[in-house]
Symmetry: C2
Subunit: 106 residues, 2 copies
């Protein structure tokens, strides 16, 4: 596994849905990048025993964390602790690129 | 705990040594930001059972991961898996700001 990655350069996009690309992974955690074209989303879901952090690399996303909606721009980090429902969508017009950490790996 | 944080705005610096500021924390993981003035460092160390990811928010750092030195600029992520010695220093001239994830919390 390459231990240094250009995060934004690793982000990929797909016309059909949000595209996930793994950067680093162990049995304890993973670190991915997500690419969301305008209109794409990650639907609301809950991890009972894992915490997630999103960091917005570029663009702007609308996050729903435990029912609270926040529009979050590049440079901000969003925390979805275990048990909190979380969702994100890209209202556009720009592409949305996210760095995502989850621990432990569900 | 505030669930949305402006990462770069949260970075603090101290004349004496690297400055750590926590963004998010549970019993499973933490997410910090580190501020390193030119010449400052985090000395080499090992976590036997925890993985760490650094993301360079601004500036440029020299990372040593398991004996391999790499100069890493803003926008790149660096992985220090459990058992790998890791260190970072800021050669300057700019301030170095890092987003740091560790799981599980040691």
């Amino acid at each position: 596994m390459e231990k240094v990655r250009d995060a934004l350069a690793a982000v990929a996009f797909a016309e059909t849905k949000l595209k996930k690309t793994n950067l680093f992974e162990t049995e304890r955690m993973f670190c991915d990048v997500y690419g969301l074209l305008p209109g794409q989303q990650q639907s609301g879901h809950v991890h009972a025993g894992s915490d997630k952090v999103y960091y917005v690399l570029s663009g702007s996303g609308v996050f729903d964390i435990a029912g609270e909606q926040r529009t979050v721009a590049a440079g901000h980090a969003v925390f979805a602790p275990a048990g909190d429902s979380h969702a994100v969508h890209n209202p556009g017009p720009d592409r949305l690129s996210l760095l995502v950490f989850m621990a432990p790996k569900p």
